[in-house]
Structures are given as C-alpha cells and as structure tokens.
Subunit: 333 residues, 2 copies
C-alpha cells in the first residue's frame, strides 16, 4: 500500500517538476550562467538516476535573510521595527526626551556615531521584557503596515522576487529551505512564514535569553534583555549544527557575515553549491560591497572567486528585483 | 494541478489511515482508557471534518527520551557511553589510575557520592575537544555494540515498543514528532534517527559550546568543554521555542524534568494532550517514581492528576515493553 502510494507520489511529483521546468520556474532570472548553474545543480542532485543524486532528507538549503532574501538598505529593517517600537513606548518614558541616543532616534535621526552598545541597548529595550507571544503580536502588527522610507512599500514586499522563485523551485525539488540570519529569530518568525513559505522551525537566527515562568497560573516564555546567541559569521555554521545537525548542500548569502556559512556548506563531500548575491544595481536597488557597513562584502567575495562559488550579479542576473514590482506588473497585465 | 494532487493525497492518506486503524496501529497498547484517549485525540485533531481539527503545520508532538522512549535504569544510558569512552581514553591518561572519580569509574564502579560537578567533568572529558563529525562517529561506533548491563541487549533495542508504534501512528496522522530531552543533542542524533525515525533537525537536547574553526584549511565544528544550554525542566519549553518556535499540541514525558514541557504544551488554546509514562513494572522493567534520583517523578504526577493529563501505567497499559522483546516474538512466530 505504502510503496504504491509512494510510487504514485513520485510520478505526480515528476510530472509537476517537468511542467514547472517547461514553463520556467525562475522567470525573474536572466538566462545565463548563474541561472544555468542553479538549475543544473538542483536537477542533478534531485534526479534519482544521476550520480550526483542526494537523498531528500539531506537536501538542505540555507539562506541568509538581510540582503539575500529582502533588502537591507539604508539600515537593517529590524532597526526600523525597533525605532517604531521606541516611538510607541516613548509616552511612558519622558526621560528619553533628553537622553541620547533616544532623543535623536525618536526625532527620526539615526546618529552616525551610534555604537554597537547603543544598538544592543536599543534592541533590548524594544525586544525584551515581554512574552514571546506578545512580541510576535507586536512584530506582526508592525509588519502589516510599516513601510520603507525610500520606496514607500511594505517592508515585507521588499523581498527579492528571484529569490522567492528560487525558494519555491528548491522546495519543488525536495529541498528544505532554511533561513540562517544574523537577525532575531522570533522577529523573523512573525512574518517570514507567510512571506517566504518557510515555517518557524526552519528559521534560525540570533536569540536573546528566554525564560519559562508561570505567572498568575499562566505559563509564559519570557524574553530577557540579554543576548543568548549571535547567529552571524562563525555563529552561522554553529547555529546550523545546533538546530539542523547536518551540513547543508546549498548556501546563499551576500556579505562577509555569510562567508563561514557558505565555506562550511561547500566544504562537505559530494556536490555542494554556494552563491553570493552581489548588490550591483544602484538604479533599481542599491550598489554596495566593501565600503558599506551594512551588508559589508569583501573577504567573502575574494573567497567566492577562489572557491568557484556562483555570484548573482543583481544588475545583470535579475530581471525583476522586488516582489512589489512583480505584483505591480501582474496587476498591469 | 496541485489541488488535484493534494486531493489525491488526501484520499490516499485517509485510506491508509483507515487501514491502519482497522489493523490496530498500537498493538502493544492494552485496550483501555489510555489507548482510547490517544486514539480519540489523534483522530479528532487530524480529521478535517472535526471541530477539533488542527492544521498539519501546527501538529507538533514532543517526546522526552530517557524513560519515555527508551529506558534509563540503573543510570542514564549516556553515562554508559561516557564510561566506555573513558576506558578507550585511559591508556593516554595514566594519571587516572590514582585520580578519583576516574579510578573508580574505570574499575566499573559508579561512586555513590558522584557529584553533579564530577558528572559534568566526566561528560566534558568524553564529549568535548573534538569535532562534531568525530563525536558522531564515536557515538555511532558505541551504539552499534554497547549492551545494557542487566538485559545484555543493545541500548538501542532498549526502546519502548509501544512508543515506537505511537511515533509511527502520529506521523501517519500528520504529526511532526520531536525529541525534547535533557540528554545531549548530538549524542542522540548519532543513533535516534534510525531507531525512532526522527531526523536530526527534530531532535532537541542539551548542548555544549560549539565553535567554527578552519584548521589546516579544513572547516570544522569543534566541541568546547562547556555547557551551553541545559534542556531540562524549564529549559524544555525554552528549547522548544528556540528550535520549533511553536507551542506543541501533544507532549509525552515521565519525570519532573518533563513537567514544564507538558504544562507549557497543555496550556495552549484548543485541543492539547499531555501524557506521563509511569514506571510501574518491576518485573518486566523497573518500578520507580518519587524515591528515584534517575527519572524522579513527584510533582509532575501530582500535576498530572490535577490537570487531567493521561497516565500510561506501564504494567497495565503496555503489553510489550521493549523493542527487543517484540523482535524476539516476531522471530519466534
């Protein structure tokens, strides 16, 4: 019974896969070496008849989020959430009117000399001292309405259309698609499942301390104002080992913060795939790499060339950049 | 195309579910209230026509391991692994011959006054200062041959047959089955996927510090001799939030270490299910609860009665206890 069912599924799956290819699963990717390298890799690793075949349970693809799945300029979008929370909290904190960096931040200015310590304090002030459930609600409320200062689009529509297509394409070929981000895991879980089709349990990120407490008879998971794990740089392979316990097959990033993750992924035996998104389109998005603090890309680009990772040049490889553009096009057609 | 495929799957799934029920998916469970409560809960939460239906993405079941999925007497099996590693390491550590607790442990004696500090040192000595890959190999080598001192069965055959059937039954009804254990996550990952059918990424446990390092050009994940996260008691709901990000629907445990996990699970809105395995069979297994240090069960049993959690009484509810007995029976038939 089971094997029959399985065979039926396999056939149905292949038909679906065949149709998807015939109709171009990656329409926002320009025809060229980048697109070709992705399709060739996915095809050979998911084809049971191929010598490069990888069983489905091992087919893990990991994606950085900021600058890889959605934009990150002029600053990480999670910072806008923190600033918006600060404004909501301000009436209860009159002392912020004269205290820096709060006074500047509340006035809409991001001080140029904002230190790492300031940032951590800002995140702890706005992300902790509440339950996980309350935090999720706050982020969901924010994500439903908050808009990008330059494009005036919802932040959740500032996701890259080519990557949305890639996520779907990979899942259709039996890959599990994980987010592995320096951003906060519970921040992402509040909106990423509906935006990317990636469930909570496949989202890995930085974490603050959590504490289980029963308050007035009600069990709660409380968010304590202390960083527990920084899921960036060497923390990314560590986060992957903690949560997934397997070395991924494919890794996608855009900055030096992703270098260790792609290096770890591609160092495994058998077929492996690493890709860097290079922000090269100043007109349709932003162009930046080694001179940018946000999304700093320098040593990872050198390593990409040395190791033969694929580089997605946004200007040349992506026909459409943002989801909201794709939606706009569809509306016009 | 997709919706047709989905409909086909649904029908096939229902047929399979129907067949499974007709042939008794839980043959090692005695007919009675415990078995009935499990089947009723799983049936109503997985039946799309039921008012208690829960979407598959939310159907999360969490299981403690020691004393819930496999035995834990006379001491946690991971301790036997540590002792066997100690013996393998002894030739390189002549100083252990005269140093306690090493001398006793190497002589096969577990000192009655072994402190928590001794235990942590023992674990760090045998579980750290190597790569994740090396550690996995060591555990796998051990699991393939190490036998229980009383039954002379492989530790990996000291798993509970009724729980194996339950895991399969739950997965057939769209539940994701997670291990949430105080044991080491990478210790379990080395054998649990093949023994329970639970993949690495659905195993949550205690963790030591990991570090990403490139040594002689080879990327490695190294195990540092320092506890990073203790996945026990209140740590279990925290571990669940860290990794899964959702409140489970069903929780299974056997000791006070599982109380917070079951309390957290059953405190959610909508249908929830908590179950305690009560070790009541001194003849076929072990009988213990509040007077035992290993698998200590006291306040959780009180709470189970107060909150109406299901209690599986091993003596009365389980027709077969161990996998090796079931296999033995099958061999005889």
């Amino acid at each position: 019974m089971y094997s029959k069912l399985k065979a039926g599924l396999l056939v149905a799956g292949l038909v679906v896969a065949g149709l998807a290819q015939a109709t171009d699963a990656l329409p926002s990717w320009n025809e060229g070496d980048t697109k070709k390298s992705i399709i060739e890799f996915v095809t050979k690793t998911s084809d049971a008849a191929s010598s490069s075949y990888i069983p489905e349970s091992e087919r893990i693809a990991v994606f950085d989020n900021d600058g890889t799945l959605w934009a990150e300029k002029p600053v990480y979008f999670q910072l806008y959430f923190a600033l918006d929370q600060l404004k909501l909290m301000a009436p209860e904190h009159p002392e912020w009117k004269t205290k820096q960096p709060y006074a500047d931040l509340l006035a809409g200015k991001i001080p140029k000399d904002l230190t790492e310590k300031d940032l951590v304090e800002l995140v702890m002030t706005t992300h902790a001292n509440m339950s996980s459930a309350e935090f999720r609600n706050k982020v969901q409320d924010w994500a439903a309405t908050a808009k990008h200062p330059k494009t005036n689009q919802l932040f959740t529509d500032m996701v890259y259309q080519p990557m949305l297509e890639l996520l779907t394409y990979l899942r259709e070929h039996g890959y599990s698609t994980y987010i592995v981000s320096g951003g906060g895991v519970d921040f992402m879980r509040a909106w990423a499942p509906s935006v990317y089709g990636i469930p909570d349990e496949q989202i890995i990120g930085s974490r603050i301390e959590l504490e289980y407490k029963v308050i007035d008879g009600k069990p709660q998971i409380l968010r304590a104002p202390k960083l527990f794990f920084n899921n960036d740089k060497g923390g990314k392979p560590v986060g992957i080992q903690q949560v997934i316990g397997k070395q991924p097959i494919m890794a996608f990033g855009n900055s030096d913060g992703d270098q260790a993750m792609i290096q770890w992924t591609t160092s495994g035996t058998g077929p492996r795939f690493g890709l860097l998104v290079h922000h090269t389109d100043a007109k349709r998005e932003w162009a930046y790499d080694k001179d940018s603090k946000v999304g700093h890309l320098d040593s990872a680009l050198t390593m990409a060339h040395e190791q033969g990772w694929t580089i997605a040049d946004m200007k040349n490889d992506w026909l459409t950049i943002f989801k909201w553009e794709a939606t706009g096009q569809a509306a016009k057609e």
